[in-house]
Structure formats: structure tokens, C-alpha cells
């Protein structure tokens, strides 16, 4: 049976539904407009995020400000006590600490001024603290006792509120009673107390809004509750997170607005409603501006809206779509196209928000710098690069370089400058270089600049920036990594995204492009400027790997000589022969593959007993392959059948089912057995067409019936792989009698059956016959 919430959590949890990491939500969200640059700490629980609202930790370096309650106490003490003294009494002291012997400044003041009423209040409040929870026992045992004690305290608080003279203390006692009543589940009492003491209060203070917070939960009428929630939200920052849950977004806003008497109250309603909206909030922005333009909440709402829009536009734009490669699947192609069309509509919406900003009087609003920076950023989103840069250049003059906002502006500038270049002529501009350096830990930013360069045809500089994603990998901040996909790649569950440059260029770059990366890196030895030294630093350590990649790419294209050249840059060119006994006595390191791919197929008994072993590498395999190809193609070669057979074996071993798949692929196991990996030789990797070609040539040149049969059998083995690849056994489109279906389509096996009937059973049922048939070559 399910508990739905738990079930959802399980589904969302990486550790259960994937046996490893998979990026989602904040990991993949692209955001360059950082809320922490704008200091809306008290709204920060509502910073836009792909996750639901959560409490935001206050940065450790942020200075502690005096909150409203502390201010009220300081005022009460006629500004004669410090905030620290107040805080100590409220948060650190226990009941026993409240004595005339205390050295605390606030207590000393109260005792000195003989304000025993205030001291009694503080003691009473300390007594109440333990009752401000729902139940100390979740199994609800001993609950009756708890409720009785709390009820007594409520009655006491009410009595004291009535008897005490000071108005502030009266309100405080009432607040305590209201809060206790809330935990007692006595909503009627909350309503009565609130109406009696706070409802008619014209100037709200923190006590009123704290009480209103509990009053909200006691309100049966949903529209009224919404109204209360919105007023608490606006006026009691420390209650914002919790009261936001009391606001029911399904209630028509007009019903809520009926309760608002002043413009500020109306603005408060629109603010909370706007924050809770997951889609467009522009209308609410306009309304808040209309009723209370100076409201800091309005600026926060704008910030949130900008974060939404950038997520809607940049996340798919940067991470999903690879425009340089055609789409693989019709459905996926349509899906990606639909998403990109949607992105264009979101850009239009961004334009509407700019229009709103243009009509705002910036002298009236809170934090004009946010509005101006936001406008510049939105211009970038609408692809108005010139507009963006114009706005940026004004901002650069007005914002101090020491302000963190300055860096925010520079990030937008770097993106705009890069985007503003022509296709085919885009480079990392000199103005962009220092900004990249300064923000080198912002992986998504580096990625975005690289991606823009790639979109404009500069894949080489893009790759250098992608290579920087792996540096400074010291933290577990997955939000800061870049993950991106290609619309072409639809691989297995764990590997349909890219997060490092190598896997990406492995798939999408040509050998010439990788060569260009190598050339530029090697040339850079002479470059001394700070940016260049940073740009090439990672790639300098990758040269060996890149040469190997170029060689592998040429193997995929079956350009063996070129492949050999590049493998030769890294690898030992000599072929080491090893005695078997040296392996047994551990005189040689026999952990590397030592079974010749020309004579040995995986999972197959050997055709020829290997007396000597070979320590192989990509260079020696390629070299041998070229040599056998040359021999096989000589017109006067008598053993064409033999050489073609060996060549075929090698090509067979280079497919997904062979022992040398690393000639074509990186990684092992799941990574290379996944279908649809969008690499150019995918068909060859799964269909073993080259092996089939050479087995067929061996067949043509074979001189004995038995060897012909063997060649046909091997060609049939390749054909079987191809057919399984072309006609997968799919749950959605199941093929009846699948094995029979494949066999019927396999013309090599059909030929073997009809023309070599005596050998058919031996060869098909058992690979042990291979050695005998191979020897029967002559």
C-alpha cells in the first residue's frame, strides 16, 4: 500500500530510483540573476527555485539586524538598553536567570526603574515556553494533563492582561494567551481575544501581527483567512514562511480584496498571491505597484519573476538543445521543437515585463538598482543585446565595483557581448575574459558562454570553456555543475546527459576539431597572459587523451592510417610477445589483454591455440590490421582467405560484443552496451558490417568446403547481430516467435543450412567446432 507523500519522495529520491546520481531540479536550473546580490533576506525563503518553498539559511557572514520585537523592547526601555541585552533575556535566559542580581543591562534597567510588571511578564513568558508545542508526545499519551496546565496558563494570561496597566504589556499577555490557545486547539478563544485587543488597533505592531498569525489559522472563512495571511506576510517577516501555507491560492482574489480597506492592504494581498503563483505574475506586479510602489515586496516579486523567466528560457535553451546536430527520433524532435517554440513565447512575456518596468517611476520604487539590472537582464532574454549592453554601460557607471551587484552586471554583460557576435565570427572577447576569470567557479556561467560560442560556430573555444567545468571540483554543490543534453542523444537512464567536456566532444566533435584543440593548446606554451594560462591549463594535461580520441575517431571512420598516426603519438609501438609461463610466474604483467583479437573471439573457444601472448595496445592492433589488409589485398596473395578471416575477427572484436570495444568506445559495461549512443559508427558498432564484409571475402577466397562453411557461419553471426539491432524485441511491438523470425531473415544462416547442411548443426549449435573448421582451411 502506498503513503502517497512518502511514495513521491521515494520516486524523487536519486538513491532509490537510480543506483547513482542523476541531475534534476536545482541541478539543472540555469540562473544568472542571483537573489543574494539584492539582499531580500526576509523574503529569501521564497526565492524562486524548482523545488518547493523551504527555509533559507541565513548566510553566516550576514550581520544580525534588530528585529521588530527587539525594537519594541528597546523602545519600552526608553532606548536605554542595547539589542544584545534584550536578545540575551529573550533567547538565552531561563526563568531562574531573571533576578535582580543579574548583570544583564535590560534586567538591571527594569529593576532600577522598579518596573516589576515587566519583570513579572518576562517570568510568565518563560513559564509558557514549554507549552508552545502541539504535543510533547506524538502518540498523544499524557495529553489530558498537558492541556489542563496550558488552559490554566491561558486563563492566567487573560487575567494579567486585564489587570496590567501598561498597554504594551497588556498586548504581550494577550499574545501569549492567543499562542497558547492555538496549541490548545481553542480557536474560539483566539478569535475572541484577538477581537477584543487587536482588531481595533490602528497602528499595527509586531504583537498585533504575531497574534494575527494565529488568528489566521482560527479563521473558518477562507477568503478572510487569506486576507489575514497576506497582512501577516507583509508585516511580520519572521512568520512569512509559515503563514504562506495558510494562503489558499484557489480562493478568488476579489473575495479576498473585499477585506482590504487601504491601498497598502490591497498591495499586501496581491504580493502574497503573486508569490504563490507558479506561472505569470505580471498582473500582480502591476497591482502591487499601483497600490504601494515603495513596497520592498514589490521589488522581491520582480526578482522572483525574473528568476522564473530565466529558468523557463535558459534552462531548456542551454541544456536541452544542440542545434548543430539533427534530431534522432521523430517524437523527440517534435517535442524539442515544441519546447523551443514555448521558449519564444516566454521571451515575449519577458518583453511585457520590460514594458512594465519602463512605465515604472524608478524614484518611487524600492531598490532602483534591482529594476535597472533586471531590465538589462530581461533585454538579454528577449535577445535585445544592444538594449542590454546599453543599459549595462549605464549601470557600470552608477554601481560601485566593490558592490557584489557589480559582478552581477558583469556576468550579464559577458553573456550579452558573446551573444551579440555573428555566427562564424564569435570569439572570447577581451572584455569577457576578465569576467570569466573572476567567475571561474560559476560552472553554469562558463558553460553558457561556451555554449553560445558553440552555437555561433566556435566549437574550439567552447571546448576550452567546457574543460574548465572539471576544475575546482572540491565541493558537492551539484547546483553549480552544468548538465546538458543533446536532442539527438536518447541513451540509457544514467547517460543521457553530459557534464564533462570529453564525453561531449567524444560524441559531437570531428577528429579535425579535436586536432584543432590540440594544436591551439600546444601553441599556447608561449602565451603568458593570465586568461590564456587559465584557459589552457586543463587541456594541457589532456593531450594524451585527446590524441587517443582522435585516433579512436578515425577508427570509427575506418581511416586506419590516420588512426595509426595518432595512436603512435602516445603508445608504445612495439609489440610485446609474452611467454605463458612468464604469466604464471608473474614475470610479466599479464593483466592487460593478451589474447590476439585476430585469433580469439570473446566467449568463443580459440580458433588457434595461442602459444605466445601479445601485450596489445591500440597502436599495435591498428598496425597489424593495416598489415593484414595489405596482405589480403595483394593480387598474388595465396592466403587471402586466411588474412581476410583474421581481419574480420579483428573487426568483430571491435564491435559491442567483442573484446576490443574500446577501439571504438570509452567506458565499459552499461555505458557502451547502451543503444542509440549518437556516435557516427553506431551502426557498425552494433551491426558488425565490416566483419561481415571480410568474412564474406574470406568465404569467396576459401579453398575448402569446411572453411567456407565457417566463413558463412561467422558472416551469419554478424548478420544475427545486425538483425537483432534492427528488429529489437520490444515490449510495445512484440514480435511473435522472435528467434525464428530472426533466423528466417538471416540469409547467411539460411544459405549455411541449405548449402552446407552437413556442417550446419556442428557450427550453429557449438562453437567448439571452430578450431576443426579453421584447421580445415587447407
Amino acid at each position: 500500500m502506498k503513503h502517497f507523500l512518502v511514495f513521491i519522495l521515494i520516486l524523487v529520491s536519486n538513491s532509490i530510483f537510480a543506483c547513482g546520481f542523476y541531475p534534476y531540479a536545482e541541478d539543472v536550473r540555469f540562473s544568472f540573476f542571483n537573489p543574494s546580490n539584492f539582499k531580500y533576506r526576509w523574503y529569501s525563503d521564497f526565492n524562486y527555485s524548482s523545488l518547493s518553498f523551504s527555509v533559507n539559511q541565513i548566510p553566516a557572514d550576514e550581520e544580525i539586524t534588530v528585529d521588530a520585537n527587539e525594537k519594541l523592547w528597546i523602545q519600552y526601555c526608553k532606548n536605554k538598553v542595547s539589542a544584545e541585552a534584550v536578545r540575551e533575556v529573550l533567547f538565552d535566559f531561563k526563568l531562574d536567570d531573571i533576578t535582580d542580581k543579574s548583570t544583564n543591562e535590560m534586567l538591571q534597567y527594569l529593576y532600577k526603574t522598579k518596573d516589576i510588571e515587566a519583570v513579572d511578564y518576562l517570568k510568565f513568558a518563560k513559564n509558557c515556553e514549554v507549552f508552545n508545542v502541539f504535543y510533547d508526545n506524538l502518540w498523544e499519551q499524557n495529553n489530558a494533563q498537558k492541556v489542563r496546565n496550558r488552559t490554566k496558563l491561558i486563563d492566567q494570561a487573560i487575567l494579567l492582561s486585564n489587570s496590567v496597566k501598561n498597554k504594551n504589556l497588556k498586548q504581550r499577555y494577550t499574545f501569549l494567551a492567543i499562542r497558547l490557545a492555538y496549541y490548545n486547539g481553542d480557536f474560539g478563544k483566539i478569535r475572541t481575544l484577538y477581537a477584543k485587543v487587536f482588531k481595533t488597533q490602528k497602528q499595527g505592531n509586531v504583537l498585533k501581527y504575531w497574534s494575527l498569525y494565529f488568528r489566521t489559522f482560527a479563521e473558518p472563512d477562507k477568503a478572510t483567512a487569506n486576507f489575514y495571511a497576506s497582512q501577516v506576510f507583509a508585516n511580520a517577516p519572521d512568520k512569512r514562511f509559515m503563514v504562506s501555507f495558510a494562503f489558499n491560492a484557489k480562493i478568488p482574489i476579489d473575495a479576498v480584496l473585499k477585506h482590504a480597506k487601504t491601498n497598502k492592504e490591497k498591495a499586501n494581498v496581491y504580493l502574497l498571491a503573486g508569490i504563490k503563483k507558479a506561472d505569470h505574475s505580471l498582473y500582480y506586479l502591476k497591482q502591487v505597484y499601483k497600490y504601494n510602489p515603495e513596497f520592498d515586496g514589490l521589488a522581491f516579486l520582480l526578482l522572483r519573476e525574473i528568476n522564473k523567466i530565466e529558468d523557463w528560457v535558459f534552462t531548456p535553451y542551454y541544456s536541452l538543445f544542440n542545434p548543430s546536430v539533427g534530431s534522432y527520433d521523430r517524437n523527440e524532435e517534435n517535442s524539442v521543437r515544441n519546447i523551443m517554440q514555448r521558449v519564444e513565447k516566454d521571451r515575449i512575456y519577458a518583453g511585457q515585463v520590460i514594458e512594465f518596468i519602463n512605465n515604472v517611476n524608478l524614484k518611487k520604487v524600492h531598490d532602483p538598482a534591482l529594476w535597472k539590472t533586471g531590465k538589462a537582464y530581461l533585454a538579454l532574454i528577449t535577445k535585445d543585446n544592444q538594449g542590454c549592453l546599453k543599459q549595462i554601460s549605464k549601470l557600470e557607471k552608477s554601481v560601485s565595483r566593490k558592490d557584489s551587484l557589480y559582478n552581477q552586471i558583469e556576468i550579464i554583460k559577458a553573456l550579452a557581448l558573446t551573444v551579440n557576435q555573428q555566427v562564424g565570427k564569435a570569439v572570447i572577447l577581451n572584455d569577457v575574459k576578465p569576467i570569466l576569470l573572476k567567475n571561474k567557479t560559476q560552472k553554469k556561467f562558463l558553460f553558457a558562454v561556451g555554449r553560445e560560442l558553440e552555437y555561433k560556430g566556435n566549437r574550439i573555444d567552447a571546448s576550452f570553456l567546457y574543460s574548465k567545468l572539471e576544475e575546482n571540483d572540491n565541493n558537492d554543490d551539484y547546483n553549480n555543475y552544468a548538465y546538458w543534453k543533446s536532442s539527438k542523444a536518447k541513451i540509457g537512464y544514467y547517460t543521457d546527459y553530459y557534464s564533462d567536456y570529453f564525453t561531449y566532444i567524444n560524441v559531437f566533435y570531428s577528429p579535425e576539431q579535436v586536432q584543432a584543440i590540440v594544436d591551439e593548446t600546444l601553441k599556447s606554451e608561449k602565451d603568458l597572459d593570465k586568461f590564456s594560462s587559465w584557459k589552457y591549463s586543463f587541456m594541457k594535461k589532456e593531450i594524451v587523451r585527446l590524441y587517443d580520441l582522435i585516433g579512436t575517431k578515425y577508427i570509427r571512420q575506418n581511416k586506419l592510417e590516420q588512426a595509426l598516426f595518432y595512436f603512435g603519438k602516445n603508445e608504445d609501438k612495439t609489440e610485446h610477445k609474452i611467454n605463458c609461463s612468464d604469466c604464471f610466474w608473474e614475470k610479466e604483467d599479464c593483466s592487460n589483454r593478451f589474447k590476439s583479437p585476430f585469433f580469439v573471439l570473446k566467449y568463443t573457444p580459440e580458433f588457434v591455440t595461442q602459444k605466445k601472448l601479445y601485450s596489445l595496445n591500440k597502436y599495435t592492433v591498428t598496425q597489424n590490421l593495416i598489415s593484414y589488409l595489405k596482405k589480403a589485398s595483394k593480387p598474388d596473395e595465396k592466403n587471402k582467405d586466411y588474412y581476410n578471416f583474421l581481419i574480420a575477427n579483428c573487426y568483430y572484436n571491435m564491435t559491442f560484443i567483442g573484446s576490443l570495444s574500446e577501439m571504438r568506445r570509452y567506458g565499459s559495461g552499461e555505458e557502451i552496451s547502451i543503444r542509440d549512443f549518437p556516435v557516427e559508427d553506431n551502426n557498425e558498432f552494433y551491426e558488425c558490417n565490416l566483419a561481415k564484409k571480410y568474412y564474406t571475402l574470406a568465404f569467396k577466397n576459401a579453398k575448402t568446403t569446411k572453411f567456407k562453411a565457417l566463413c558463412l557461419r561467422m558472416a551469419g553471426k554478424c548478420e544475427a547481430n545486425k538483425l537483432a539491432y534492427r528488429y529489437p524485441d520490444d515490449y510495445e511491438n512484440p514480435i511473435k516467435n522472435y528467434n525464428t523470425f530472426l533466423l528466417k531473415k538471416n540469409k547467411y544462416y539460411q544459405d549455411l543450412k541449405s548449402k552446407y547442411a552437413d556442417d550446419y548443426e556442428d557450427l550453429i549449435s557449438d562453437c567448439n567446432a571452430f578450431e576443426e573448421y579453421f584447421r580445415a582451411r587447407r
Binding site: 500500500m1 502506498k2 503513503h3 502517497f4 507523500l5 512518502v6 511514495f7 513521491i8 520516486l11 524523487v12 530510483f17 542523476y22 541531475p23 534534476y24 531540479a25 539543472v28 518547493s52 506524538l138 502518540w139 498523544e140 499519551q141 491560492a249 504563490k276 503563483k277 507558479a278 506561472d279 523557463w312 534552462t315 531548456p316 541544456s319 536541452l320 517524437n331 517534435n334 517535442s335 524539442v336 515544441n338 519546447i339 517554440q341 514555448r342 543534453k485 543521457d496 515490449y731 510495445e732
Partner: protein, 341 residues
């Protein structure tokens, strides 16, 4: 004489092997925590179908290494009106984690706590008869089997009630491995057979092939078995091909904004606010829903392979106006009566 004895013997054997349920006791699971009462439509369904028995989830039990075992999702249901129920069975869902690292003392405490809280919440259901049966719902594993079974025995001892538990198809098929829970009866859960995200092409709520792989031959389970069937649906949302959330409510509103791309799968064609979730163009949805004939086919498979007693309870999961709106009252009634056909 010998012939008569032989005839009687054959008759007993044949009757003993008879699988036919003679009396179906109809019931529903009520699984919502935040509702105070049934809606008008839910009441109407209960009355039309003459449902006398209701399994109500009272609360769930979770585990935390600091706090130990604690109840969550406590029910808010208060049945103020005299309904037609003769039996309310308090049901408690217990996470498997609860039984992982615990000792006998902890299990004794758990049983005592659950018993206490059930009794306390039962008071909300007066003037109905005090429950005769408690049902425990836990997907126990090999590792937690011994602890769970110990707990069940303890609960029986303390509560002095009939104790039933839910039984998934895997422990039903492999009792020698998974054990037979020490309870008076078990409800065989014929749904949620596959991890929802594991197989993109199968309906994870109820796939007939999957059901048949468990119910592949007639088996007599050594306990009285009742049956639970699914009558719910959901939408799994995928953004950028990655699972994001599940939508249960307002599916009818969302359907017109979808375009079918392959069996079970749809693509969002119009931006839509589904509660707090913003569905965007291009998002993919796996809509798992069970048409009546699929449920009826499942019933045939169950009838064919599971040996029942003459009187058996058939429970539909779960009572919810929106979830049940896909089925007419007649169809729902048919799910029950098909067992005795």
C-alpha cells in the same frame, strides 16, 4: 457401501477444491488524512453500492534514528452521521524501516503505542461499533520479517482483536521464503506490482502480464485471503525526460491539454497550472489509468488462480470522488459481483 463412501469422498474433494466465492463482502479503503467527512458523491457511492465495511487509515508510522518510531498523517475523519456501516477497520500503514533496527522492547512499545492511538481515534467513530479487527499494512522484506511477525503477535496479544495484514503478491507466491504472517486473515494486494519508474512501457498500477507471472497457478495460501483491487489513476510528470512529480487531482482538467504520443504517454501541448505545479509545453506525462475491462480481466486471473473461502471481502482502493468518477456505479458493483460469478 464402498461405492457410497467413494462417492462422498470424491464429492468432498471436488467441493474442497471449489474456488467459488459465495458471499462477497464489499468494502473500500479510505486513505485520506486531511478530510473531515465524505463528500456527497462519496456518500452516494457508499449507499448505492451498499458498502457496510470500510478500512480507514488511522495513521502511518515512520522511523527516525533520533526520534524512534512515530505516527504521521493522522486521520481527520469524523463520522458524525449515522451511516450504514457495520464495520470500520482501523488500518495502520507502517514503513518497513520501522522494523529494520529494533529490539523486542522497541517492538513491544510500538505495539502498545499503536494499540493506544487506535483506541483513542476510534472514539471519533462512535456511535459505530467498536472495531473487531485491526489491519496492519507493511511491505515487509526478508530482513524485517522476524521483527514484523513478532510485532503482529504482540499486537494481537495486547489488543485482543482480530488482526489482519496486507499481503503483496511476492510473499504470496513465495511463502516459504517470505514467511506467513501470524495473523487471522490477509488482504491480497493486486496492484502496484512494478516500481513506477522502472518500466516506461508498463502500467505500474496493474499490468496483467505481471499479475499473471505471480498468479500463474492455483495456490492455496494457508490463511484466509481477502482481495484488494485498484480503482485509482495518476499522472507521472517528466520534464526534460526526467521524473518530476505525480499528479492525482484534476486529471480531467489536464487531459484536454495533452496529446498522445504512444501507449500510456502524452505530451503537454498547452501551458497549464495544475495546483502549484506549472505544466509546460513539451513536458511528458505517463498517465496510468485502469479501464474497467482491465480490472475485470484481472479479476478473472485472480479467480482462476487464488483459492478463496466461501465468504471473502473485496476492497477497492480507494474511496475518492475524483478517482472513482471514471467508473459508473454499475461498473463498480460489477467488480464485486464478478468474484461470485
Amino acid at each position: 457401501m464402498k461405492k457410497i463412501i467413494f462417492f462422498l469422498f470424491i464429492s468432498f474433494v471436488l467441493l474442497g477444491c471449489s474456488n467459488k466465492i459465495e458471499t462477497v463482502e464489499k468494502s473500500f479503503y479510505y486513505w485520506k488524512s486531511d478530510s473531515w467527512d465524505f463528500s456527497e458523491k462519496e456518500n452516494s457511492i457508499l449507499q448505492t453500492l451498499e458498502i457496510r465495511k470500510l478500512y480507514v487509515k488511522f495513521f502511518e508510522v515512520d522511523h527516525d534514528k533520533n526520534f524512534g518510531n512515530f505516527p504521521i498523517s493522522k486521520s481527520n475523519l469524523k463520522l458524525n452521521k449515522q451511516g450504514s456501516f457495520s464495520e470500520i477497520i482501523p488500518t495502520v500503514y507502517i514503513k518497513n524501516e520501522v522494523f529494520k533496527e529494533t529490539d523486542k522492547k522497541g517492538l513491544d512499545t510500538l505495539a502498545a503505542n499503536i494499540n493506544f492511538l487506535i483506541h483513542k481515534y476510534e472514539a471519533k467513530f462512535s456511535p459505530f461499533a467498536v472495531a473487531k479487527e485491526f489491519q496492519m499494512d507493511c511491505d515487509w522484506t526478508l530482513k524485517t520479517k522476524d521483527n514484523y511477525f513478532y510485532f503482529l503477535k504482540k499486537l494481537k496479544l495486547i489488543s485482543k482483536k482480530e488482526i489482519s495484514c496486507t499481503l503483496r503478491l511476492y510473499p504470496y507466491k513465495y511463502p516459504e521464503k517470505m514467511g506467513i504472517p501470524p495473523v487471522d486473515r490477509a488482504t491480497l494486494m493486486c496492484y502496484n506490482l512494478i516500481n513506477p519508474l522502472e518500466n516506461k512501457s508498463k502500467n505500474s498500477i496493474l499490468d496483467l502480464k505481471e499479475l499473471e507471472s505471480y498468479l500463474n497457478k492455483k495456490r492455496k495460501y494457508p490463511l484466509h485471503l481477502d482481495i484488494a483491487l485498484p480503482t485509482y489513476s495518476w499522472m507521472q510528470v517528466y520534464q526534460n525526460n526526467k521524473f518530476t512529480t505525480v499528479i492525482y487531482k484534476n486529471q480531467k482538467e489536464i487531459l484536454p491539454k495533452l496529446k498522445k504520443i504512444k501507449p500510456l504517454w502524452y505530451e503537454v501541448t498547452e501551458d497549464h497550472l495544475a495546483g502549484d505545479f506549472y505544466l509546460r509545453i513539451g513536458d511528458k506525462i505517463k498517465h496510468e489509468v485502469l479501464p474497467p475491462d482491465q480490472i475485470n480481466q484481472a479479476i478473472e486471473v485472480i479467480k482462476k488462480n487464488v483459492v478463496f473461502d466461501l465468504q471473502t471481502t473485496v476492497t477497492l482502493f480507494y474511496l475518492d470522488e475524483e478517482q472513482l468518477s471514471k467508473y459508473s456505479d454499475e461498473t463498480l458493483s460489477g467488480f464485486y459481483t464478478n468474484f461470485s460469478k
